[in-house]
Subunit: 216 residues, 2 copies
């Protein structure tokens, strides 16, 4: 990390800085994940569940992106996991340069999994490569079945789509199969896991898939 200049040149593009981030990530973490969703879809709760399930076997670190507050990084720190909060002010997404600044001296030790939780937004975060290995999207099924068509870029760019809050399916009047078909129509290579962070349903399937990606 020390060998790469930390001066971020405003003339450089996001992709150029992201490429440098990727080199840094690989020197500090086995796998780096950009976690994206609309506001309130459950990104931080998914992170908490994932950490709790795997914490005995893997080392985590988390970079949190929010407009304001350190609520999310405090939730992660409460689990004993190193967390760094980026507050973007009025910027509706993370950019490579913000993450570049955040990873100076972070994480404090080498980790297996570095999660970057993006700002809650189904649009712009999809346009900014941060240098991650994987893009994981959390989608609350309560948001309805049509969103993959209406926000196609986010769904298209996701490697994994976690269909969260499936415990609410019986009450929200959502057809899970129709939602799944709409995701696949936009992104046939998406790996899809229906999950509930309340009941724990589906969380094992997701974390098992994840551990395979770490190469354990």
């Amino acid at each position: 990390m020390e060998r790469v200049s930390l001066l971020t040149d405003v003339r450089r593009t996001n992709d150029e800085i992201a490429a440098e981030n990727q080199a840094i990530f690989r020197s500090v973490a086995t796998l780096t994940i950009n976690l994206m969703s609309a506001p309130g879809a459950g990104k931080t709760t998914v992170l908490e569940r994932t950490i709790l399930r795997l914490t005995d076997h893997y080392r985590f670190a988390v970079i949190e992106g929010d407009l304001q507050t350190s609520i999310d990084s405090e939730r992660i720190l409460a689990l004993g996991v190193p967390a760094h909060q980026i507050t973007t002010g009025s910027v509706c997404h993370l950019e490579a340069r913000m993450v570049r600044k955040a990873i100076t001296g972070f994480p404090p030790a080498r980790v297996d999994l570095l999660f970057i939780e993006n700002v809650g937004n189904l649009v712009c975060p999809a346009e900014f490569n941060l240098g991650e290995d994987l893009r994981v999207m959390v989608y609350s099924v309560v948001e309805g079945v049509e969103k993959p068509k209406k926000y196609p870029l986010m769904f298209y760019k996701a490697d994994v789509v976690l269909l969260n809050k499936i415990d609410l399916v019986p009450y929200a009047g959502v057809e899970l199969e129709k939602l799944r078909r709409n995701v696949i129509e936009v992104n046939p290579r998406a790996v899809i896991f229906p999950i509930s962070c309340s009941t724990g349903e589906g969380v094992d399937a997701w974390t098992q898939w994840l551990t395979k990606r770490i190469g354990a």
Copy 2:
């Protein structure tokens, strides 16, 4: 509408164009509302319920903003209400210039209520005045109680906050009173209506308030 030049000058600011929009809106509609929310909070469903409740007494028109698709404007047209779809491509919010272009010849007749449904996003739409009389925000209670703190500008700028999907409160583990307090902390002058478009609860209180604003 015909008397105002429709050439939008790229050098003019959003607020300058919004001020012109406002003059146009007042010549075609009694009240113009900018309807905002995160994706999937229920803006279009709120619109449908509002229209169905008031259609015998008031004339509506709707401008729909989405990245892609005309799904929302088709839902409004199905109710016999004039609707115009703006597709923003990759732009995550409506801007005054987009609305200015949309209102050439729209609505086809003078109306009581002109709704502009913004792109689903809790961040950037709050930064762009479209020339509206009122800003109404729809917030799905399933998104949790902390969002007013995390996305303060949207809550701060809203004249009305509709706390939607309250039928899911018993299943989603959300404390409605805490959410309401968090909204008021960010915006003490917000008018708040807890509603459910599924059960109809609270919708009358909202539409009664709205009709008073039309000056009926």
